[in-house]
């Protein structure tokens, strides 16, 4: 018989919010001295997804911002969940990343438990149940897309836990710009090339018309046959090559007269300071 004298420790898994009260007190005392508390880094983003004839296409820009500074010019916003399911994340960068990683691991366990490939509805359900449990404190807005036995599907999940199933979706700060492209040109059952161009144009609209989005367009095409990741499919914001030279050749301006006046300099004081290399 083995008696343990040490009491069992309470399982503390998942997120822990006990510092929120301390942060609130700190923020108020900081603002009194005139300082601002550091904010969570949000991926000002444009993410989009459409359902086309053979599957689903997900698209995202690649800029991560820290307030008004670009923190990452080429970050990856399309995350792997299962071999046939991918997820774009917007909102707070850390929340989106970690939530998708947790989902990916849960889905793997579920597939091993049931012996079946993952369903997109299963991923959406787990996601929204988790986000609802945290009552919006996890600031992750996600677009989940994939092809499973029931066909191609696209879901959006909001931070408070609501979800929508639609044929085309956009999220993030550039969503308004991107959805206007979709509302104008989306048609059901498009061909692959047409669909790729449409998503590219929608993300490009977000890149140009939204300050929080920029850099390149990433695409992820999911069909029954498999997944094709097109990182850097389009680079609309690349720095252009300078067309002309602004330097004038010597002799462009004609010299009329030349006068040389030497300054007689007298050495007053000389001191040498040796710089130590180490």
């Amino acid at each position: 018989m083995l008696h343990t004298l040490k009491p069992c420790e309470i399982q503390t898994g998942g997120f822990c919010f006990e510092n929120t009260r301390r942060n609130a007190v700190l923020e108020s005392s900081l603002s009194e001295s005139g300082y601002k508390a550091p904010g969570a880094r949000k991926t000002g983003t444009t993410i989009a997804g459409i359902v086309f004839k053979d599957g689903v296409i997900l698209g995202a820009d690649t800029r991560a911002t820290d307030d008004m500074v670009v923190a990452d010019k080429n970050c990856m916003k399309i995350h792997y969940i299962a071999p046939n399911i991918y997820c774009c994340g917007a909102g707070v960068a850390a929340d989106a990343d970690v939530t998708t990683q947790i989902m990916s691991s849960n889905v793997e366990l579920h597939m091993l438990n049931t012996g079946r490939p993952a369903l997109v509805t299963m991923v959406t359900r787990q996601l929204k149940q988790m986000l609802f449990r945290y009552q919006g404190q996890i600031g992750a807005s996600l677009i989940v897309g994939g092809v499973d036995v029931t066909g191609p599907q696209l879901y959006s999940v909001y931070p408070h836990g609501s979800y929508d199933k639609l044929p085309f979706l956009t999220m993030g700060s550039g969503a308004a710009a991107a959805v206007s492209v979709f509302e104008d040109r989306f048609k059901p059952n498009m061909e692959l090339e047409e669909a790729k161009q449409l998503v590219r144009e929608a993300i490009t609209a977000g890149i140009f018309c939204d300050l929080g989005s920029g850099s390149n367009v990433d695409l992820c095409i999911i069909t029954e046959a498999g997944v094709e990741m097109l990182r850097g499919y389009d680079k609309p914001a690349m720095k252009g090559k300078r067309e002309g030279q602004y330097r004038y050749k010597p002799g462009t301006t004609a010299v009329l007269t030349k006068t040389v006046t030497p300054f007689p300099l007298v050495v007053v004081d000389e001191s040498v300071q040796i710089m130590d290399p180490e």
Binding site: K42, Q129, S141, Y158, P159, H160, G161, Y163, L166, S173
Partner: protein
């Protein structure tokens, strides 16, 4: 907690600012809803079906916070499934309404959603229940959501007892059209569900097919 940068609708809770209505007729019920889901001033889904099935012949209409309403409907759907297997019969509408009411009442402070439960069962025919804030009351008809305030006068004046199914459907469509015209948070298309002993029949009335009234 976090500094709020960027447009507010990014972090705003998603609400179904809504118009929902359910009305009972002899032999069943008719439910109707608009289709607009907003986050702040932005519309995030313009074709959402807010009439959610709880069982084969029991539906509920969602309004308020989208996340809260969807979650309550999903939980009650599960609980009703288990309950109907346990009693080996189709569940009563008042059982479904009671389950919704239990959740709405217990989590009154945390939730902000209002569900109208309506359906048909063999014992009492068509029934409509309102579960606002945790109360449970059976009514001949019920309206809810932000758009309902604009049509209380209309429904009170136009409702008559013992309408036929077709008259009820027309009544529901008229009410929705009027509310969608006046309420900024309601719009899109109208979804109608008619439930009687034969089952539930879903219908969509697209924007330009909605009835028009005096419109300057």
């Amino acid at each position: 907690m976090q500094a709020e940068t960027g447009p507010e609708w990014l972090s705003e809770e998603v609400k179904t600012g809504t118009t929902i209505i359910a009305i009972e007729f002899k032999g069943g019920v008719v439910l109707g809803s608009d289709s607009r889901v907003s986050a702040g001033e932005s519309v995030v889904n313009r074709v959402m079906n807010k009439l959610s099935p709880l069982h084969d012949k029991i539906y509920c209409a969602l309004s308020g916070s989208a996340a809260d309403a969807q979650t309550i409907a999903e939980m009650v759907n599960y609980q009703l499934d288990v309950h109907s297997i346990e009693i080996d019969k189709d569940p009563k509408v008042c059982s479904a309404a009671t389950l919704v009411r239990n959740i709405s009442y217990k989590y009154k402070e945390e939730l902000s959603a209002h569900l109208i439960v309506a359906g048909w069962d063999r014992r009492d025919g068509g029934q409509v229940f309102a579960t606002l804030n945790g109360l449970l009351t059976r009514q001949p008809f019920a309206v809810g959501g932000s758009g309902s305030s604009y049509v209380y006068g209309f429904v009170d004046a136009e409702y008559r007892k013992d309408m036929t199914k077709e008259e009820c459907q027309q009544f529901v469509v008229n009410t929705l059209a009027l509310a969608m015209n006046r309420d900024g948070s309601s719009g899109g298309v109208a979804y109608i569900v008619s439930i009687d002993e034969h089952g539930a029949e879903e219908k969509v009335v697209l924007g330009n097919d909605l009835p028009t009234f005096f419109d300057q």
